[in-house]
Symmetry: C2
Subunit: 253 residues, 2 copies
């Protein structure tokens, strides 16, 4: 197969944060594949790309990736088993879904078009694309896939808060915040800790940072670079219930 | 002061990885400030930007940042004191140097121009700019500084190697590799470990990864996205002496 799959990071949300390469490759690709979180919803990645590039005449494949928890959190013992079974089933549903999307992409490639798969932020960091990657290569060994990096929401959030993530010999840890078990140790060991998707666990984080006297070293950035971006320099003032899914806390000691 | 300092991440080296915003702001800024590592050398950031944007007629301020180690490594006891004194002196030299650059930037801003400071990769991650940041605000409290994020070399390296840095609930650690003390623990605790600037310590890293049976999980990327980029999928084959300064190892368990 001579056609190529491009996986393009379109950045955190500001259409001006697309790279020149992202714009060129989107322009040149007759088929775009865009992920979306809800069957009936629209694709955020598509709506951002649309503000930077004219997409008229392109074929758009909307790939619905249902959201699913992939690891049990700290649940009471009784619930963990049920949760585990529910997750195994959910994983199988997802696996079928990715199989379908992979086949659709391969069909377009076989019909003679390059395909561009758009991802929010950067494709290598917590992006849905890598769930597809193995599937694609399993169905079509040797498939030519080029990943075009983008501006990650982590760098964009730090930029908006005028925070450095690291300088010189400093170390950085990035943790999905729904997995807080080792957070204290990590805060002890690293100069900077980035906590992703804090919206469901912010109160716990605030409590721990208070105990460790690190509360003044933290900033929370929600929807960096988007129109409704928010920067909270005092994270004790945030109401957890109201916090957006695209929110992260950066602690810099 | 109504003028603004823009700090622009121009990405890892490929001129097409500048963002639309970087290109626009560089075009609109009459004065550019570019860092360079050697007094007599040229600025790598400038040469990359030049391939994406016409710079004719702009005033270019070249800021020479001498390289300096900022923390003692594992030296024999006798040497540590000498090293420490040498570093304290070097830090003072650097501090003077940053003071000079900050004053030059402020002079341009006062004379009525916006200034764009270019950095390789992303400004928030191991970039020289943050050494200037405090100095600038000390000399001009309330100075308007906007940081424009860019594609980091970490994301670009992972993309070139078709490696995911993290998925779902996985954790990521980023360590400058000249500070290896806790590397084993970090490799135990994190799903992905990124080691920056491995060129002087690669042999040690290879030894440890072999012992931990992680050697097949590592990739080394040198000068990601530049013309002389190299990707080493078997890091035991690399000769440390020949390895470029812009090289990193990514270990994904």
């Amino acid at each position: 197969m001579k056609n190529k799959l491009y996986v393009i990071g379109i950045g955190p949300g500001d259409p001006e944060l697309l790279t020149l390469k992202a714009v060129r490759v989107i322009k040149e690709s007759p088929v775009l594949c865009v992920p979306k979180g809800r069957e009936e919803g629209s694709s955020l990645a598509l709506s951002i790309a649309q503000k930077a590039v004219r997409l008229d005449g392109k074929e758009i494949i909307e790939a619905h990736f249902p959201m699913v928890k992939t690891r049990a959190q700290n649940l009471p013992t009784g619930q963990a088993g049920t949760e585990h079974r529910a997750q195994t089933e959910a994983k199988e549903v997802l696996d079928d879904k990715w199989g379908e999307i992979a086949e659709t992409i391969l069909r377009s490639l076989k019909q003679g078009s390059d395909v561009a798969f758009l991802t929010l932020g950067d494709p290598t960091i917590y992006s849905t694309f890598f769930y597809l990657y193995d599937k694609l290569l399993e169905l079509q060994p040797g498939l030519d896939i080029e990943i075009i990096p983008g501006v990650s929401s982590i760098n964009a959030s730090a930029a908006r808060a005028n925070f450095s993530l690291g300088l010189g010999n400093e170390s950085i840890a990035i943790l999905p915040a729904n997995y807080l078990d080792n957070l204290k140790d990590t805060l002890d060991q690293f100069d900077t800790v980035v906590l992703m998707k804090v919206n469901k666990v912010l109160d716990e984080i605030v409590k721990l940072l208070r105990e460790m006297e690190l509360i003044s070293r933290a900033v929370c950035v929600s929807r960096a670079g988007m129109e409704d971006e928010k920067i909270y320099r005092d994270i004790t003032k945030i109401k957890q219930e109201g916090l957006n899914y695209f929110s992260m806390v950066i602690v810099r000691k």
